[in-house]
Symmetry: C2
């Protein structure tokens, strides 16, 4: 599908990947930019966007396109699912077995070549749940 264009190992790319591996959150491009900037103050936001996109294409990292306004990135590349807090937007991993069989089901009922799937759960995280409890105690 894609030609194998060699990807140069630049300082920027190394640091972007290193910073992404460090965290278990699922940072947005802008959050990655902030992390990288602490070590490489003159890095450009465009560079971060370009490289996150590139690394996602080659499969080095995962691009998570879920609800909310921004895309998020994840150094954990093996297939897994996510929960998003509808209050604060935080995204966490859901450690449950990947439903291997549903791709076939989808292929049978659609006219698509199915590549894969992603499940996004929505709910309220611990933090936001306890804040709401406080608010209810007027």
């Amino acid at each position: 599908m894609h030609e194998n264009i060699p990807m140069r190992l630049t300082t920027q790319r190394q640091i972007i990947l290193e910073e992404l591996v460090k965290v278990t959150s699922h940072p947005t491009a802008n959050e990655v930019y902030d992390m990288v900037r602490k070590r490489l103050p003159r890095v450009g936001l465009g560079t971060v966007y370009r490289n996150l996109e590139l690394m996602a294409e080659t499969g080095m990292i995962l691009k998570i396109e879920v609800g909310g306004t921004q895309k998020r990135f994840d150094a954990t590349v093996h297939p897994h699912y996510h929960v998003r807090c509808v209050e604060c937007g935080k995204v966490d991993d859901i450690k449950m077995p990947v439903q291997e069989d549903i791709n076939e089901m989808a292929a049978q009922v659609s006219h698509y070549q199915i590549h894969g799937h992603h499940i996004e759960f929505t709910g309220i995280c611990n933090n936001c749940a306890s804040q709401q409890r406080e608010e209810n105690v007027h």
Copy 2:
């Protein structure tokens, strides 16, 4: 949770809903705007955004937050899944049974109050698949 603020039945809202019911595609806000504008040329884009958001909150329509850059809207409100073509961005329904049980599984392995889930399949649609076949015949 939400107060029951009565929602006025304005011409704009009627037409937005009518246009959305007409189509089986999953139009973006801008596409809805174009549809509505043919009948109501002076409608504002902000009005369309505001009302789609509002109608999604009250459950009249469904807001689909999937991959791609824009949110999409759907007059079919009962729970169902979607496929998105990674080439052209088209979104279609997947008519397969909703996995009722996985919310509980997710609740058990996370610290979230799980509200629901959505499955997005990715793949290549009919159109894009045949175009690719043509391109390979140099």
